[in-house]
């Protein structure tokens, strides 16, 4: 599968895991989206350095080619899935009594 297809699938899976499996209702909360907006800013910075300095390079055939701050747009989807799954699990553990 191309990076594009995998990145879209990762976003769908991360949302499904939260909504249907862990059921934290995190995605309906203001705290999630404000946190994500802040993390997103830093993600652009870190990803921008990694891709702008060409620490990581991509096969042009596996991405759409649209770039934001040097990074392939797919990286933003990848980052959303990573952050969403992590925060969902963090909150789920808290709801299970782990503080």
């Amino acid at each position: 599968m191309s990076y594009t297809a995998l990145a879209v699938a990762a976003v769908v899976v991360s949302v499904l895991v939260d909504v249907a499996l862990l059921r934290t209702r995190l995605l309906a909360r203001r705290i999630f989206w404000v946190s994500y907006a802040i993390v997103f800013g830093f993600q652009l910075l870190v990803n921008g350095v990694l891709t702008g300095r060409r620490v990581v390079r991509y096969d042009p055939a596996t991405i759409l080619g649209t770039r934001i701050a040097y990074a392939p747009v797919e990286d933003l989807l990848f980052g959303f899935a990573l952050v969403t799954l992590t925060l969902s699990l963090w909150v789920w553990l808290g709801r299970r009594g782990m503080h």
Partner: protein, 113 residues
Amino acid sequence: MAHLTYLALLVGCLVVTAPLELVLRVRVYARWRRLLLAVLPVAVVFLCWDAYAVHRHQWWYDAAQIVGLRLPGHLPVEEVLFFLVVPVCAILGFEAVRVVTGWRAGDESERHQ
């Protein structure tokens, strides 16, 4: 020094977010068991994805900008650290927003309500 580029970026992420734990007292590192349980399963999944992508040559790393230590799946050690550092920073940011705004995330314990 170029070999340290990627590693330095990750260390920078930890340094920049450290005041959230030390000054704002978000208690994320302090709750290390919960932190590990939240971060490790997701990291394993994403490392598998990373190894698949490297195997398929969808992306690769500039040998001049990594320390050169390779792990199973031909992944640079920095990639493993990336999937630990970035999620930890995300949780630190999330808890910082909670501390500053007082907004609820639905996981507050009864005694704190």
